[in-house]
Subunit: 510 residues, 2 copies
């Protein structure tokens, strides 16, 4: 354990000062340079197993592969099940370190978001990992995996589902432990490993797993390996996450598709109805207009505000890189906006466009939405604000799959809203002593000042660790920020994987 | 030729009076009752050939099948090509009738709208015609095609692409001629047959075909067999059609899909941008708010207004049948609203919904639109009003497939608008003598008063016949109104096919 500095001093120390990378980092680097082929062989094997969270058969195959990875490292794996049968188990393992006074659990998840292979670039298959000379949209070209003895370029990228989110996390943690073993360096804390298999479905049963295996999962800290490093390329440490809840909003019109010539001007158009509904929810600046949407927000603490103010601005660089002209938020910074709850349209579908388009008036229109939550927001209360808003626009709102003739006869406008259970946001206070230890450990591996954020914009069910295990969580992400996480063409830059190894070696020597 | 009544007297005569079906109609009915199996065998063969308008190989197979149908009836088919090579040819045939003073060309089209087989009901395949006891949404059950000697129920429906639009038209025309032959009844006019193969693509080359084969196609009248009978179930005669032009409107945001947690609240959401754009185009009553959209409309003539006033109201019955609560149009009738230009959203797509939905901010959003045009509207001028509107909302509008980095850097909002060429509306004056003859012929086959409409809501490129051949057109549709034309689960009610046979026999004895 390192001596503690007051938080503000530490934050200042992280700003704009050149840092030295410590010996362990350099040693880890040398080890990695000698083992790149072995490392990538094992990673490719992991990536090749389909892991869409709803694909229960392959999810279990993925879990079994990870259990084997633990065994290879001399750790006896356990599969931690939930009370509910059939839930993908968490894969668990532990390493007791003689003399260690603290225990750290390392978390990553091995399931992935759904894939629509048609939307992936030509030549890319979600579960056939492939190597490219750089990012596709920067002109990256495919390249075969090099043979033994041939070098890797650290700017190459591996494409495939979960290359970054979050098999990279699983792999970085287990490879860091392996590096320590091979280098004969002892961890300074007891290590536990916990790999979840249901995160992308909203971690519906994680609470049950934590509750059922409470004794086994006792620790002083959870370190969460998920998400991207800062857009500047600097490493970052995150003290919280937004919560999230998914909704589907569907608007119904005619029971059957209608010829747009014979009925256009008279039959209601569900795509337009849904467009009007969505438009009513946000203003031109992206502010949510739904009544009560911002009511429950817990304000930032003073130290959170200070940390926020120190995050390097990336908005203009990012806007150019992403190629859009105008951000939402009326001029507020990205870092600031991520501290607010948000309402996102993830997708919109009504009949067909392109080659399949026909001259009809569709029967329904559907929007997939996700609401990001901040501290203070309750998922169901937030969903209710949206339902109330839709009702206030003159809609009858149901949760039923099909609409009855009676409902159709009775209500001029009908919407179906289905919300998943979702989960709350979580924030660990920046002032905890162990928090500062983690920040210093990560900084010891980096030349540039690392970024400390009160919260990730993304979501993880970290509130559960707090609520059930009363244990703080800190997130140390590793992926490149342009990894296309959750979407087609997901990828990982090799250098990010190499950096991750050094980071996680340091985190096992807190 | 029949003696002419003044138009108003004829229209009055058609209102609310019981009519007798004439001998020819009864004779045709008896003939049909004896030949139902033969008729449906031939129709099934026609339906089984895929005819999506863009599927050039199968379109030609469909044309060849129709050419064979002509041959079987003792008519030597001609394939009429366009100046542009590779265009699906029109299939043509003619029957000279000794002593006949007039010539009527019968038109139908043999191509069909695109199909998305996934959207069709379980058990239905677009090009495997299948029989159901009634409409699917009324609880229709599949039933095998009856064996020789077993009866058909006239309420049964055949499901498949183009069962109604418009292979039914091709088939009704050729079967009516066949019936006359078999019954040894001579047509009273020279007959020409013209079956188009590119209607559902907007009849892009029909003008070329008409122009190239002008001499062959001389006539006194074109009778168009396409579209549905009136929603009351009564037969109808239509004196015009709306024009149509298809557009695609695509809005661009970030170059790559973004994680909705890490970027939600800041990155612009293209689905919301497009929703806002579409919402700005129409008010709550469905009135188009685009500047100039209604400017060019030619007012209805007095006799058109009279005909319009006599159309039986169906709005309330239809609204209930279609199961929606509130029509567009602020209380105006369907018949009245179809005399206005319209802007329809045919489809909307942005990323994914349902099982494929992921927590992202999409990169783009696309809407398929069609603009229905009335007399006076020019397709390109109407498209321009939409483009100007989008520009007025702050968009840079391009037609290019891909957006350059320079464009992305320069313009805060970017939309791509691609419009097809489209075509104008057409209306034949109700007062023409031959028009009245047609109305009387159709009425002679029906017990109930037929409906006379100044214009169909749907579209056909009838302005070309006027412009190139200087020949009037009258449309006599045959399909059931609930045929799902252009959409999934397209179908034809058998009784409509039987009625069509009687109608078209009468139209060959004007």
């Amino acid at each position: 354990m390192t001596r503690q500095l007051p938080l503000l001093a530490l934050l200042l120390l992280l700003t704009g000062v050149a840092h030295a990378q410590n010996d362990l980092t350099l040693k880890t680097r040398a080890y990695r340079q000698q083992h790149e082929h072995q490392l990538l062989d094992e990673f490719q094997g992991l990536l090749a197993i389909p892991n869409v969270v709803y694909d229960t058969v392959n999810i279990r195959r993925t879990g079994a592969y990870i259990a084997d990875m633990l065994r290879k490292r001399g750790i006896e794996p356990k599969l931690l099940d939930a009370k509910t049968p059939g839930v993908p188990p968490a894969v668990y393992g532990e390493v007791r370190v003689p003399g260690a006074k603290q225990t750290v659990i390392f978390y990553a998840h091995y399931d992935g978001q759904p894939v629509n292979p048609n939307q992936w670039a030509d030549g890319l298959k979600p579960f056939e990992p492939s190597l490219y000379t750089q990012a596709l949209d920067a002109g990256g070209q495919p390249i075969p995996f090099p043979k033994a003895g041939e070098p890797f370029d650290p700017n190459w990228r591996i494409y495939g589902r979960s290359t970054s989110d979050d098999k990279a996390g699983v792999f970085a943690i287990l490879s860091a432990y392996d590096a320590l073993r091979q280098m004969n360096v002892k961890p300074t804390v007891n290590l536990k490993f916990f790999f979840e298999g249901e995160e992308e479905a909203g971690s519906v049963h994680l609470g049950e797993i934590l509750d059922k295996h409470k004794a086994l999962l006792s620790s002083d800290l959870w370190i969460i390996c998920d998400g991207p490093v800062h857009q500047t390329g600097r490493k970052q440490v995150l003290f919280g996450v937004r919560g999230d809840v998914n909704m589907e909003l569907k608007v119904f019109a005619s029971k059957r598709p209608l010829h747009s010539g014979h009925y256009g001007n008279w039959a209601p158009n569900p795509a337009l109805m849904l467009a009007r509904l969505l438009t009513s929810m946000k203003d031109e600046d992206g502010n949510v207009l739904i009544k009560g949407f911002y009511d429950d927000v817990t304000p930032l603490s003073e130290s959170e505000k200070q940390a926020l103010a120190r995050i390097p601005p990336v908005d203009e660089q990012l806007r150019q890189e992403l190629g859009f002209g105008q951000a939402e938020g009326g001029g507020k910074s990205l870092a600031e906006l991520l501290m607010r709850p948000s309402l996102n349209i993830n997708g919109f579908a009504s009949a067909n466009v392109g080659k399949l388009a026909t001259n009809i008036i569709p029967t329904s229109a559907t929007a997939a939405l996700d609401l990001r939550l901040v501290l203070g927001n309750d998922p169901q209360r937030q969903v209710q604000t949206v339902i109330d808003h839709v009702k206030a626009q003159g809609y009858y709102v149901t949760q039923n799959e099909s609409i009855t003739d009676e409902e159709r006869a009775k209500y001029p406008r009908i919407a179906r809203i289905i919300a998943k259970s979702g989960y709350r946001a979580q924030r660990t206070p920046l002032d905890l002593p162990i928090a500062q230890t983690v920040v210093k450990a990560v900084q010891s591996t980096a030349k540039e000042p690392i970024v400390v954020q009160p919260s990730l914009g993304g979501s993880l069910p970290l509130y559960l660790f707090d609520q059930i295990l009363h244990t703080p969580t800190i997130t140390v992400p590793i992926a490149n920020h342009d990894n296309n996480q959750h979407a087609e063409n997901e990828n990982l830059r090799l250098q990010n994987l190499w950096d991750a190894l050094e980071t996680y070696v340091a985190l096992m020597r807190l």
